[in-house]
Symmetry: C2
Subunit: 277 residues, 2 copies
Amino acid sequence: MKTASENTCFGGTQGVYSHTSKSCACDMTFAVFLPVEAKDGPVPVLWYLSGLTCTHENAMSKAGAQVWAAEHGIALIFPDTSPRGESVSDDENYDLGQGAGFYVNATQDPWKPNFQMWDYITEELPALIAENFSIDMDRQSITGHSMGGHGALTIAMGLPGRYRSVSAFAPICSPTTADWGRKQLTAYLGTDETTWAAHDASLMMEKTGFDGPVLIDTGTSDQFIDLLKPEALSVAIAKRRQEATVRLQPGYDHSYFFVSTFMEDHVAFHADALYTD
Amino acid sequence: MKTASENTCFGGTQGVYSHTSKSCACDMTFAVFLPVEAKDGPVPVLWYLSGLTCTHENAMSKAGAQVWAAEHGIALIFPDTSPRGESVSDDENYDLGQGAGFYVNATQDPWKPNFQMWDYITEELPALIAENFSIDMDRQSITGHSMGGHGALTIAMGLPGRYRSVSAFAPICSPTTADWGRKQLTAYLGTDETTWAAHDASLMMEKTGFDGPVLIDTGTSDQFIDLLKPEALSVAIAKRRQEATVRLQPGYDHSYFFVSTFMEDHVAFHADALYTD
């Protein structure tokens, strides 16, 4: 693991690191915020998965999460959204290929050799984090924005017991029925739609739910709301009788101005779960 | 004035606007954050002047100021740092020309026709703001980062009575004696150094001071600290017996991770002044 940069930030350290990923067969970059408390021992951690076109950098710089993570003594991890590089397959559209990994393990060519983002986020990167940072891997929670909200929800429900709480900002809720999903799941997983169900938050919610609290925020003026389909997740949460808070925020759109506005609430929500024994 | 974008943010509106500037003889872009209170009547305002290479966008997205401005019911204005465009003179170096206006009125060619940033920030843009936004121009304060900290301090001291308080993050404190300053003041104002004194915060502080409170933060690990020369301003403040808080923040560098860390303090500092009758 190489250190690209480390900046003092809210009393802690905002770092950017790179490593050669086995899962993705390329160099990957990620960011970690460590609160000052990490100097005295392992701290709980909140994962933040980003949306289409983003790298580790967007949320690190624009989501305003460090102030609240510092307040609660929680680490933040900002992974990249896909494998990267000249040797990695890509697509001319922004919503497929590099920057658009959708947090799945691709089984189809040309994506299969690199696009193993589920394994990367759930196995390889956690092992690297546990080895190199003062983080308590028994106290993890996860959040994300848009495609990253989809990732946070599907990963949290797909790995029962791993995360204490899950939240999402404007998540893609129904990728098996929406244009943000069908195209990518076809490309990465193939045309057998039965393989898609493990990557659809609404289907997973209805089938298994999440063993912990859930918080979802979506703006009523989100320009992509017809692609996100928050109604699919809302009905699944209601049918499941899932412990959850689902909020539609009047006037907010899909931008980081929306994410940063509600970040305080999300970090406090996760802190409640992370500090409960 | 044209609206480029408006996003709901912390209950208020983060907007980006453009207009044709007479002072700078080109189109200029700026950003305004209006807290929700602006709907009920004019609110006080904090100007934020940015540093070298920045546009209106950097601080708007990365400084984390809106959360605190919303808390205090204060508007924020983020101007650009220079005139822009193909018809505007530029330099091959990042620290001269476009993105590096240094908040002066250039008297030298080729800069003179466009680089009238003092007039733009102190006359033209305030008039445009007063006409178009629910902002109380009798309650203004000003801050900035690096070159923008230089701008905030020199403008605040150069216009007695205009601003109630002034603060700066890692300001360029001694442009008449440092490489961040001598080159630009020579280019914009010419070789007669007597014309430079009105654009050097330390010289102005020693000569006239500021009729209100001053707050300065600089990181001890600032990679540009030898160019900033905080010691020049510190001695001037002490000699002047200026009401001021000057802090050196251990471990912080020149980045927005530093700025965002202390933004809460700066906005609260200005709010105290802006809400005192």
